[in-house]
């Protein structure tokens, strides 16, 4: 049974999404209920996988493999280690809450959920694939629905000095992701050919020897290709613009999961090309530092809630990149936990911003004022997300960032100090935002603003609960991460 868990994990949203195409498109309650059921099953699967994962036995678990195209050495092989199992859990959480947040989609809900399910199937597939071909395949599978979801269900915003239409955001995101994936694909093919050209299987390729020159030359393809996805500066602008255009649930998946996919890809490719990775890590950590400070400073100057959160994602992904680049058990472990923490946190952010936008029809920070008086649940949830973002102890962000900082101090102390300062800048813009939007006297315009609906409250509340739970009791998560990170680093530095 355990062998089939991962297969089911990918198959449920994929088949579920395809089956949904044949539903009557007018029966809204049926569509919603069905989507929620699919998401629920899949979330349950991911939770059970996470807890069934045996962290005392390291390595890939729940492995399963099917021959697909033996001539080229392509097989559909699945498996998770301590790093990807956490990503699977994250995807499950964001998936179900995203469906709940999209409860009141009125424009063609059937098509929306079909695309949404396919998107999530792609993301799941990436995290559990142990074959580079399918890794890439699922990655592309995730990109296409993303484009349609933003271009059709997104929102266009006029910022007075410039205009961001949903088509612009969608096209930009698509072009970036495809450009990134092209680089990755070049890298994958190079590795495939140089590794005797007989297998795409990750486990086979890891054991192949590549010359140092080859590794140095091809690692940047992976680093930049996945880096685009992770919001690596200066390839980050698709992300905030994508958020501004995207509907709530897509923003959640986009920032919550898709950007993590990039960081995850970098981790995996480091294993493929360990020597190249070691040579390139200083560059990655430098860019990560720029991400942190630059993202935070940009967020401070934004006037749109989604831009603020979008740029804060850029900033937080900087911590992930910095942590990965330390090649230190604590730094990498912290980065993985930060991926999870930031995924949940930013999903919560976007969920709450989506609720505000849905009710107030604006996201302009200068217009929103004193909302706390009317919308206490929304405010509380936003405050929790904000406090996580600025690294308050007791919430998940703190543990993750602390581990990253410790890792940094063991390797690059100066950058560690800059990272800590970045966290303080985060505090400045988050607190400014809170003071402007939620506190202060409420203006006449928002006297009758609606609070989050029960469904929305439950969804966002679940995310907040995860943040608090991980912040209070991180040890289980850290142990699981450890079981993935320590062998990973052994392979990487022991070579």
């Amino acid at each position: 049974m355990n062998d089939w868990l991962l297969f089911l994990l990918v198959a449920v949203p994929l088949v579920g999404g395809i089956a949904l195409m044949f539903f009557p498109s007018r029966n809204y309650p049926l569509i919603r209920g069905y989507s929620a059921a699919v998401a629920g099953v899949s979330a349950l699967l991911s939770v059970s996988i996470f807890f069934a994962y045996d962290y005392t036995a390291a390595g890939f678990q729940f492995t399963n493999s099917f021959q697909w195209l033996p001539v080229l050495g392509i097989q559909y092989s699945l498996g998770v280690d301590g790093i990807s199992v956490l990503m699977v859990l994250l995807t499950g959480i964001v998936f179900i809450t995203g469906v709940l947040i999209s409860w009141n989609i009125e424009h063609r809900p059937k098509d929306f959920f079909v695309h949404y399910l396919l998107l999530v199937a792609g993301v799941y597939g990436v995290f559990v694939s142990q074959d580079l071909f399918f890794f890439f395949f699922f990655y592309e599978l995730a990109v296409v629905p993303m484009y349609l979801l933003i271009a059709v269900w997104g929102s266009s915003t006029d910022f007075k000095t410039f205009l961001r239409t949903k088509e612009y955001g969608a096209l930009k995101l698509m072009l970036y992701l495809v450009a990134g994936s092209l680089l990755v694909w070049v890298g994958i093919l190079a590795v495939y050919v140089a590794g005797q050209g007989d297998s795409f299987a990750f486990s086979d390729l890891v054991s192949r020897e590549f010359t140092p020159g080859f590794q140095r030359f091809f690692f940047p393809f992976f680093m930049v290709g996945f880096g685009v996805l992770a919001g690596l500066w200066p390839f980050h602008t698709w992300s905030p613009d994508g958020h501004v255009a995207a509907p709530t649930a897509v923003s959640m998946v986009h920032a919550g999961v898709l950007m993590k996919l990039g960081a995850y890809g970098i981790l995996r490719s480091m294993e493929l090309l360990p020597e190249g990775a070691r040579d390139w890590m200083p560059a990655l950590i430098g860019l990560g530092t720029v991400n942190v400070i630059y993202g935070a400073a940009s967020a401070m100057s934004q006037k749109d809630l989604k831009y603020v959160v979008g740029y804060s994602s850029v900033s937080h992904m900087g911590y992930v990149l910095m942590g990965i680049a330390t090649l230190d058990a604590l730094g990498v472990g912290g980065a993985v936990l930060q991926m999870f923490s930031h995924g949940v946190m930013t999903a919560l952010f976007f969920a709450v911003v989506g609720v505000i936008y849905h009710n107030a029809h604006t996201r302009d920070i200068d217009v929103l004022q004193g909302l706390a008086k009317r919308v206490s649940v929304t405010t509380a949830l936003f405050v929790i997300a904000g406090l996580t973002s600025l690294g308050l102890p007791g919430l998940s962000g703190f543990v993750a960032e602390l581990l990253v900082f410790i890792g940094l101090f063991r390797t690059y102390p100066i950058l560690g100090a800059i990272g800590v300062i970045g966290a303080a800048i985060t505090a400045v813009y988050i607190l400014r935002l809170l003071a402007k939007v939620f506190f202060g006297p409420i203006s006449e315009r928002w006297q009758h603003l609606h609070d989050a609906s029960p469904v929305e409250s439950v969804a966002a509340g679940a995310l907040a609960t995860v943040l608090i739970a991980v912040g209070m009791l991180p040890s289980y998560f850290v142990r699981v991460i450890n079981s993935g990170v320590l062998p990973f680093l052994e392979r990487l530095t022991g070579a």
Binding site: F162, K172, P234, T237, W238, D241, Y294, A297, S298, M300, S301, Q302, D328, A329, L330, G333, G334, G370, A372, K373, L387, L390, G391, L392, P393, G394, F398, V399, L402, L403, F405, I406, F409, R410, P413, G416, A417, V420, I421, A423, A424, A427, V428, Y429, L431, R432, L434, A435, F438, F439, G440, P441, I442, P474, S475, V478, R479, I481, N482, L486
Partner: protein
């Protein structure tokens, strides 16, 4: 004794229950918070009794929280004289303040939330004082900041309160950056977060002196933020936007004392890094001087008290910089009682005056509210250093420490500050409670007993805790208690007399100016106009910071924001797309439509391929 962990746990639990279910409970759950803190106080008694009975130096125990590679982060408690004293101060003042709040906050919207936040704050503060490792201390440190943020911003509908809460959090957070960096530097050098381990490594000389000095100064930066030391003191006066009991608890007795506590707790580091200690002394002196002078001219009741707090905190830092932990902690204790008393008294006055805080509109309140007036007087005299109240003893010890540990210049300036602190206390006391009754004060009335009872208890405390310094019978005195018998308090008669005389002179001067009107304040203002202006404008530090934020931080941020949109996005990203588009428009003219042009291109291409095949391939193949 192991039960000490229950004290913060109870309050955390109270926070959880009250914040989630408070509105369904009778009294909005306030009784739960009070029970929790009362439990904390009982535990203090138990721990103290155990500690005194056991006579061990310290005791600590811990549980692992996170373990990753070499880093092990634990929940752990350390029970030593310092933590026991702090446990007592925090739980006792918090208990009284919460009881007082029942009256003061009655009828407020979000009454339950107030108590929930209070519990959160108290829990964090108790964790802070009990923490046995630097990370747990930092965690508690941040949560204390959160509690402060929530409580200052309790009346978030007021823009000033929202601003003040933000300012407090951000300013202390700046110090916290230093604290975290310092902790991580120490971890890098010693490989542990356990305070005992760090101190042992430092004492054994395993840490390079340069790194140690910097790490210690950075840790002190954290203390500067929380304890409102120059130049990070600006948040404290603004924090008076919070409810007055909050000011009494957080911004007089506990949170602001956390910085002093931190330096005391980490004192082995400061002992090993004399340069860092000197920094502490200088910052402390500057803070004490600035606070005292600004307190002289403020007209807002709570702000006078706030600047007085700043000044006293500076004094404690000065004592720490001089090398005397007992003196600083003793003053912390005396100050906690006295200042909490003064704030609660101020709250009582404001309660009576319908939230009026301008002292120029007060006067003669002594007759309307005798209990408040009496207790307030005790607090003021104590802080002015009039014997035999507690402030006298502690101030005396601190001056002695300065005399012993630092150059005479420090002592002279410290004595001047003693004079000033007596003067501003006299000013406050005489303006508010004595003299002619002002018209606004006509309808004032004494506060309910739920408010006056804590005042009386605190007044009693403020009056008598000073005697703890004395060695009587089997009791060996506060100094020996806190240092486990290594460093008792001493007396230097000359210094004591000088301090008392200066305090009395200051008080007398106040009496002369504000009661007898022997000196006109108007005339003084005329004579020292620029000084007055400087002081009223808080040395222009708020202006400077505001300028820095507006002109540097925000301009930088909007520069980056614009840079991102215009350079990276419009020029870089859209520019790339535009370049492709434009070059396409240009290159299409190569398609002349002339068939012989195409033929020529074909011929050239074929020739190029041939040449490549002939010349290049053999060389690279």
């Amino acid at each position: 004794m192991e039960l000490a962990w229950l004290a913060p746990a109870l309050n955390f639990a109270a926070f959880g229950v009250v914040s989630l279910f408070g509105k369904y409970l009778p009294g909005k759950g306030s009784f739960l918070s009070i029970l929790a803190i009362f439990g904390g106080f009982i535990l203090f008694g138990v721990v103290l009794a155990d500690y005194l009975g056991q006579k061990e130096d310290t005791l600590s125990f811990s549980r692992t929280w996170v373990e990753l590679g070499v880093a092990r982060i634990t929940w752990g408690m350390i029970i030593d004289p310092l933590s026991v004293i702090m446990l007592g101060i925090v739980s006792f003042v918090a208990l009284l303040v919460q009881v007082y709040s029942l009256g003061y906050m009655a009828g407020q919207e979000r009454f339950g939330w107030y108590f929930a936040a209070h519990s959160l704050f108290v829990a964090a503060m108790l964790t802070l004082v009990l923490a046995d490792n630097l990370i747990l201390l930092y965690i508690a440190w941040e949560l204390v900041g959160l509690g402060s943020y929530l409580l200052i911003g309790f009346w978030y509908e007021r823009p000033s309160a929202a601003e003040a809460a933000k300012k407090a959090f951000v300013t202390t957070r700046i110090g916290d950056v230093g604290l975290l960096i310092g902790i991580l530097m120490l971890f890098k050098a010693t490989g542990t977060f356990e305070m005992a381990g760090v101190f042992a490594a430092v004492e054994a000389g395993h840490v390079a002196p340069g790194a140690l000095t910097w790490a210690t100064i950075l840790i002190f930066a954290g203390a500067m933020g929380k304890s409102a030391q120059f130049p990070l003191h600006v948040w404290l006066p603004d924090a008076m936007e919070g409810p007055t009991p909050v000011s009494a608890l957080i911004h007089a007795a506990t949170m602001v004392a956390a910085g002093v506590f931190l330096v005391a707790r980490a004192f082995p580091l400061f002992e090993a890094a004399p340069d860092a200690r000197m920094v502490v002394a200088v910052i402390g002196l500057i803070t004490a001087g600035m606070g005292a002078t600004m307190a002289l001219v403020m007209t807002d009741l709570k702000r006078v008290l706030a600047y007085s707090t700043v000044s006293h905190l500076g004094f404690m830092m000065l004592a720490l910089g001089a090398g005397s932990v007992p003196a600083a902690i003793f003053h912390l204790l005396a100050h906690a009682f006295s200042k909490a008393l003064l704030f609660l008294g101020a709250g009582s006055v404001m309660h009576a005056m319908h939230d009026e805080t301008d002292i120029r509109k007060m006067g003669g309140l002594r007759k309307k509210m005798p209990i408040t007036a009496l207790t307030f007087t005790i607090g003021a005299l104590s802080l002015a250093g009039i014997p035999p109240l507690s402030g006298f003893f502690s101030k005396d010890e601190m001056l002695l420490a300065v005399f012993d540990g630092l150059s005479p210049a420090f002592l002279v300036l410290a004595l001047v500050i003693v004079l000033f602190s007596a003067l501003y206390m006299a000013r406050l006391l005489f303006t508010v409670f004595y003299g002619a009754s002002s018209p606004e004060a006509e309808h004032a009335h004494e506060s309910p007993s739920v408010m006056t009872l804590p005042l009386i208890i605190l007044a009693a405390g403020a009056a008598v805790v000073g005697f703890l310094a004395l060695e009587v019978g089997g009791y060996e005195g506060f100094g020996n208690f806190i240092t486990s018998g290594h460093h008792g308090f001493e007396v230097n008669l000359l210094l004591t007399v000088a301090a008392v005389v200066l305090a009395l002179v200051g008080f007398g001067l106040g009496y002369a100016i504000y009661v007898r009107k022997a000196l006109s304040t108007q005339a003084l203002m005329g004579q020292f106009g620029w000084v007055h202006k400087l002081l009223v404008n808080k040395y222009y530090m708020d202006h400077a910071y505001q300028w820095a934020i507006d002109r540097i931080v925000l301009v930088f941020a909007s520069f980056i924001g614009a840079f991102d949109r215009i350079v990276v996005n419009d020029m870089g990203v859209n520019g790339t797309a535009e370049t492709v588009k434009r070059s396409g428009f240009r290159i299409r003219y190569l398609e002349s439509g002339m068939v012989y042009n195409y033929a020529l291109a074909m011929a050239l291409g074929a020739a190029a391929v041939a040449l490549f095949w002939w010349l290049v391939i053999p060389r690279i193949g």
